[in-house]
Symmetry: C2
DNA sequence: CTGTTTTGTCAAAGCGCTTTGAAACGACTG
DNA sequence: CAGTCGTTTCAAAGCGCTTTGACAAAACAG
């Protein structure tokens, strides 16, 4: 069933049918109703390829997910981000196209996307410091929104990010206030911009209290349960072990917790844990009451906002890029307590 | 830069340029080289919408991910599945389109996909017993591959699944051989077909040894850390607690492990845990040596096979549907041991 | 009742590509 | 050297839609 068929069936021209279905004003109300009824009855759906070619709009948003060859892993927050974004796209009639690209091919991939015109815009995932993709996309004139930020990029660009530095600064202060002086940071890969920011926030809070950050308390790596476990085992075996751990993900926090158990230490009493929590749907930090004290910010909401910003940008090409910073909430759970031996 | 532009530039007709670039034989080798060089120099990329309209092929695969409104969560295995599938699509020049659809709209969504023609085929995720989508898609004539199976569907349909029943049967036998008699099953939501199959395998192994499955040892729910924890706390508080837990996911297993710690029980000695492991990239079961004894089958590989089967099906429309069963491997870790008090 | 506007409809062009059918050109055959 | 054939190229049609510009028909004004 094509537009032409439907038009013929109704004794109308394709023009009128098209206009009727697309809500143009210059079509008689009676005709519109007749057309709509026939379309529904016939189960008519405009062919999207044809429509796209005719309008010049792809009605699709690309998500380019970087696949590092070394650690070829799809970020686990991705699923939740997607869930947030897809609802927005669905409502606006956009498709969501996933494009997994090896790190080395990024530039080529974006150029191809632009030239082939199969997306109207892209979401940039996993930005790094000075990420070249921002300049590239700006140059290509392909609308984009970055999930996160890229330090050292001067150009203005649209992005949605959690205020990581602030969150980790507050988290560190919270631990300092509890009397902790040796606080370990179990961070993500510091190639990633968010990890850098988190570190900066952590260091800022320490310096503010005249504590020199100890590089031996800094761990950086893939945020897994094993990472947290290994880090904690290693650091707690030292002569001057940390009394608190600040971790970048719930998984890492769980790893630290396991290490504490192995060592017969009690979480929240002997050693404190404070983690960042992305509020992943399948991985909650306790139901009512949080298990871990955490800085909390929903990745799903970030996904939604990214999508909304991108669609707005596509709708209004001239507008200046919008940036949005999400403040994390510090929720107190059972994993933190006063540093052992600290004055009350 | 359009095909016409490029043709004009070369003093050739669009026809010839098109054929040269698409590898048709009736073009002189010298001309082809000339065209290819010019295309590369100009950075020419055929507009995908136009190509799609002309060829009638969408060059895209749809992944419809069901979003239950109650527990609106994207399955965490999804990210890994995608990673496996996307590599296949990329190599074949296909796009991957994600379509998140509320449960209620499934039928409408598939019909729309078909009528709009924006995908050449779909992967069906999260099949349930007697899943109506299989009949619907067969009826629509839209090529599809199911990730998993749907009990009670008679039609032949292409699918890739782990032999869950067999895996859980073997896992249960393994525990029985260690002397365990009360074995709890912490399963996924039993609306899902794979959960049903796992249960069947578990029950089969018990019955085989003349043990009547105790319904009080059956837990079914969202596979989270909290689920495992809650289930274990509840069951271990009983007068007749289980001596072993069989869980459907590493997350649940971790929850059970936490409960053991809370109760001062040692994993692998006082209580055993055996879990299924999807080998998610960001969530490994130990680096060299597995932490948990597990039935292991990679979701990523399932994703890859699904994609390959679907592309093959699209390439050869007449062919009968292919099914593929992946056998899980039973890897022995530190989480299992002889049942306490059992004869050696 | 004529002239002007508004309203509703349509034919035709165009989006950028593929593909069909025909034509031009040498090369080969008898 | 005419006739045939294989090779290479092209003009034109078509994919299914949107959109421009024109045109009747109806509504209004003078």
């Amino acid at each position: 069933m094509t537009l032409k068929d439907l038009a013929q069936l109704l004794g109308l021209s394709p023009t009128t049918v098209s206009r009727a279905l697309n809500g143009f004003p210059e079509v008689a109300e009676a005709t519109r109703r007749r057309v709509e009824a026939a379309a529904a009855a016939q189960g008519y759906r405009p062919n999207s390829q044809a429509r796209r070619l005719a309008t010049g709009r792809a009605m699709a948003i690309g998500h380019v997910i970087p696949l590092s060859t070394q650690h070829e892993m799809v970020n686990p927050v991705f699923a939740d981000f997607i869930a947030g974004a897809s609802a927005v796209y669905a409502r606006a009639g956009y498709d969501m196209v996933l494009i997994a690209v090896a790190d080395a091919d990024q530039t080529r991939a974006y150029r191809a996307l632009r030239a082939q015109g199969n997306v109207d815009g892209v979401i940039v995932h996993g930005p790094r410091a000075g990420d070249p993709r921002i300049a590239l996309l700006t140059d290509l004139g392909l609308p984009f929104v970055v999930h996160g930020r890229a330090s050292g990029v001067d150009l203005p660009y649209a992005h949605v990010d959690v205020n990581s530095a602030r969150a980790f600064e507050r988290a560190t202060r919270f631990l300092l206030d509890l009397g902790h002086r040796r606080i370990a940071l179990v961070n993500g890969l510091e190639e990633m911009d968010f990890a850098l920011r988190r570190r900066r926030g952590y260091e800022r809070a320490l310096v503010e209290r005249a504590i020199v950050p100890d590089p031996r308390l800094l761990i950086s790596g893939e945020m897994t349960e094993a990472q947290g476990y290994d880090a904690a085992r290693r650091l707690l075996a030292r002569a001057d072990p940390p009394s608190a751990f600040l971790t970048s993900s719930l998984l890492s926090a769980m790893g630290v917790r396991r290490a504490l158990w192995d060592l017969g230490l009690e979480m929240g009493r002997d050693v404190s844990i404070l983690t960042h929590d992305d509020e992943l749907g399948y991985f909650r930090n306790g139901a009512e009451e949080p298990i871990f004290t955490a800085t909390r910010a929903s990745v799903r909401i970030a996904g939604r906002r990214c999508a909304e910003l991108l669609l707005a940008q596509i709708a209004t090409p001239g507008a200046p890029p919008v940036a949005e910073l999400i403040e994390a909430v510090l929720v107190v759970g059972a994993s933190t307590g006063p540093a052992p031996g600290a004055p009350p």
